[in-house]
């Protein structure tokens, strides 16, 4: 009986989480435009609360907001962080009730649409000056159905190859500038007794990332994306198929049975010095630096028959700052949003939080970060399967991730992976919409 109760409990708890999301669901739209008496609050002391999932950065954000508070007497910013994995539910619930935050970090692209559609966020077009923000990243906080802007992106991630400088020095190797050099480099690392590429192929989310790193130049990066969104091409495009084939060709530079290697294992391969290179995202930088590695970074040179003439680095926005539509401190919240979109905040964010900011023209004191920033600027593109293909079910990155796993297992060809991706997203994605 106890076990049967716990079976009920599973469904019950799952349902409970959902219940928490949605009390009094239909009331939100009406409370939207009550913002008349907000002007008087500028002189009164105001406390703005901001919610976040970055529990590890609370101190850093407090330092950043100290600067804002010093420049804006009477304004206090309270930064509250919650467990990352539970944040989405907490925020959705908080925005429904009266005890929600004034501002909040929200997820990017498809991840924020539910909040926008539920009418929980304030549109900021024309109210917040986003001129300093990298314009291509604004899509992260744009409503898919109404095209309005609902947030200011705060962090970005970029993709590239990390390498262990000590191993490169030991084997007398240098960063490749052509595809032939890239192949020769991997052969030389192999001959030197190291694994050329560390990859956690057991964790399917890592595979589309690897595909972008080695294949983006082959399929053409931004040009392909434009065509895809306009409907002039799709994922069955021969160049896109060829880019997936490159992923398969790269397995000879990985350990045997790479399909059984987890993401965590692949990190150990690199930090323990058994693998010389790690194709990964900027989000790895912290743990790689902490492990004391002498790090180098480069972009994979253009493969033969590439559509792009230069190497490409894919990137995306990690999240945005947004305003609760029912905040009682609208003016103060929008003032803060304007500051969050300014180079002053961007530089503080870079220096304190040590991540890449969405604000243009900042200086990075860390040499590796500086180089990564320059690499991204030299050939930026959007990580399509995350940026554009997460607005419905199934999501693009899951489709191609599982497809590449099947390809590694010999159950699918590159063409079939592309078809699986195209057919999957075609169930909800309409080009040109």
């Amino acid at each position: 009986m106890r076990k049967r109760l716990s079976a009920l409990g599973l469904v019950g708890v799952a349902a409970l989480v959902l219940t928490g999301c949605a009390p009094a669901a239909q009331e939100t739209t009406e409370t939207a435009d009550t913002q008349t008496s907000a002007t008087a609050e500028a002189v009164d002391p105001v406390t703005l609360t901001m919610w976040s999932w970055r529990t590890e950065d609370v101190e850093k954000y407090n330092t950043i907001f100290d600067v804002y508070e010093a420049a804006n007497p009477g304004v206090t910013v309270e930064f509250e962080a919650f467990l990352n994995t539970e944040y989405n539910q907490l925020l959705a619930t908080g925005l429904e009730g009266s005890d929600g935050p004034d501002l909040a970090m929200v997820r990017a692209y498809g991840g924020v649409q539910a909040l926008i559609e539920a009418g929980q966020l304030m549109a900021i077009d024309g109210v917040v000056d986003t001129g300093s923000v990298e314009q291509s990243l604004l899509a992260a906080a744009t409503g898919r159905t109404d095209g309005s802007l609902y947030g200011v992106p705060f962090a970005t991630q970029t993709l590239q190859v990390f390498y262990n400088k000590e191993i490169f020095d030991e084997l007398g190797l240098s960063e490749p500038t052509t595809w032939d050099e890239f192949t020769a480099l991997n052969e030389a690392i192999s001959a030197g007794g190291y694994t050329p590429l560390a990859l956690g192929a057991k964790d399917s989310w890592m595979l589309p990332i690897f595909h972008e790193i080695v294949g983006a130049a082959r399929y053409g990066g931004p040009e392909f994306r434009d065509g895809l969104l306009a409907g002039t091409t799709d994922f069955n495009d021969p160049d896109y198929v060829a880019s997936i084939q490159i992923v398969n060709d790269m397995t000879k530079y990985m350990v045997d049975d790479v399909i059984g290697v987890s993401y965590a294992d692949s990190q150990i391969q690199f930090t323990a010095g058994t693998a010389a290179q790690y194709p990964g995202g900027s989000f790895e930088l912290g743990s790689f630096t902490d492990s004391g590695l002498d790090l180098g970074v480069y972009l994979v040179p253009t493969p033969p028959n590439s559509v792009s003439t230069k190497p490409i680095s894919a990137g995306w926005a990690d999240g945005s700052f947004a305003v609760n539509k029912t905040t009682e401190n609208e003016d103060a919240a929008l003032d803060l949003m304007n500051w969050l979109a300014s180079p002053e905040f961007g530089q503080l964010f870079v220096d304190e939080v040590k991540q890449f900011s969405a604000i243009k023209g900042l200086t990075y004191s860390d040499p590796v970060m500086k180089e990564m920033d320059e690499l991204f600027a030299s050939g930026p593109t959007a990580y399509i399967n995350l940026v554009d293909m997460r607005y419905g079910e199934p999501v693009g990155s899951t489709l191609i991730g599982e497809g590449i796993q099947s390809m590694f297992l010999g159950d699918m060809s590159a063409t079939e992976v592309a078809t699986k991706l195209q057919d999957g997203i075609a169930t909800w994605f309409t080009p040109g919409a």
């Binding site: 076990k3 049967r4 109760l5 716990s6 079976a7 009920l8 599973l10 469904v11 019950g12 708890v13 799952a14 349902a15 409970l16 959902l18 219940t19 999301c21 949605a22 669901a25 239909q26 939100t28 739209t29 539910q89 959705a92 619930t93 498809g110 649409q113 539910a114 926008i116 559609e117 539920a118 929980q120 192929a201 057991k202 964790d203 399917s204 989310w205 350990v255 045997d256 049975d257 790479v258 399909i259 059984g260 290697v261 987890s262 294992d265 150990i268 391969q269 293909m389 607005y391 419905g392 079910e393 199934p394 899951t398 599982e402 497809g403 590694f408 297992l409 159950d411 999957g424 169930t427």
Partner: protein
């Protein structure tokens, strides 16, 4: 009335209620209420947390007919059934074997019982992660040992190959839960009166016959309980598959189960209507578990009545 109940030594209704009410409140608030709410949610369309129109069974139609559910649901469900079959064949039969053996040896019984039951006390999520480390093709001791003793061809990427990955989950689950059927069977074996077995021996029954004709029928109630609990456990499997294959059931959906599908739909979906579809999935899973558990329980009761008269 009052005096009558007192004379029978039973508890007065009011005091009885006082004991029942706290549990009843908790049960209602944390189980009945969310369950009925989820049922309600599954009949509506959703935009984030904003409830839309009443759409009847459309969410249920979606999870049976539309991608990715049309493929993912049968795939995940078949894995749940496989987990159940695997647990019945391996976990429960080995559990019975252990129980019978321990029942015979008597000495050191407690020690072995404790040893076999220990993994049961560790969180299944931890067990899953531990085993994914053990089975890692790079650093895992399992493949290292196989290679060291010359069985290189057996050093497979256990969790990376779809044919072995789901069986690895069956094995890990069995490793953790083996003590549970063992304890239940052990207790039932202890309850079989010695006179019965002795009488059988006098009538000339050998070991196998004794087990088949005396022990097994008398174990039927325990067998039924273990079967039902194993069924529920297999249908709601989540932590071990999650720790081993992640939320997508890597590799390529080979370890996907119903609870993972629910988790992805509810919390990782790009679809803004996911509250509706995930509620429908949760209800479906609940109704299936509940229905089968009731059927199993009834047929078991019937079988028991047949044996015990």
């Amino acid at each position: 009335m009052k005096t009558k109940s007192k004379s029978h030594g039973a508890m007065p209704v009011r005091i009885g209620m006082a004991f029942v009410i706290p549990a009843l409140i908790l049960f209602s608030v944390f189980i009945v209420y969310p369950l009925t709410t989820a049922l309600g949610y599954s009949f509506f369309s959703w935009k984030g947390t904003l409830r839309g129109d009443f759409i009847g069974l459309e969410n249920y139609v979606t999870i049976f007919t539309k991608p990715p559910f049309d493929e993912a649901l049968p795939n995940a469900f078949s894995h749940n059934l496989l987990l159940f079959a695997g647990a019945m064949v391996f976990q429960n039969s080995i559990g019975l074997l252990l129980a019978v053996t321990l029942h015979k040896i008597g000495r050191l019984k407690r020690l072995f019982q404790t040893m076999f039951t220990l993994p049961y006390l560790v969180s299944p999520l931890v067990v899953g992660y531990l085993w994914s480390l053990m089975l890692s093709p790079l650093f895992g001791p399992v493949n290292a040992t196989l290679k060291a003793i010359g069985l290189e061809e057996l050093a497979l990427p256990w969790l990376g190959d779809p044919t072995t990955a789901i069986w690895a989950i069956v094995f890990i689950t069995a490793w953790q839960w083996i003590g549970f059927p063992m304890l239940l069977y052990g207790a039932a074996l202890g309850g079989i009166p010695e006179e019965v077995t002795e009488a059988a021996e006098i009538d000339g029954a050998n070991g196998v016959k004794k087990f088949r004709l005396i022990t097994l029928p008398l174990l039927l109630p325990a067998l039924g309980t273990v079967t039902i609990l194993t069924f529920i456990g297999a249908m709601e499997a989540f932590p071990i598959p999650y720790a081993v294959g992640g939320s997508t059931g890597s590799p390529a959906g080979a370890t996907d189960v119903m609870a993972l599908l629910f988790y992805r739909t509810a919390f990782e979906s790009g679809d803004i209507g996911s509250i509706g579809t995930s509620s429908a999935l949760a209800m479906l899973l609940f109704l299936f578990i509940f229905g089968v558990a009731v059927v199993l329980r009834t047929s078991l009761a019937r079988a028991e009545r047949k044996i015990y008269g």
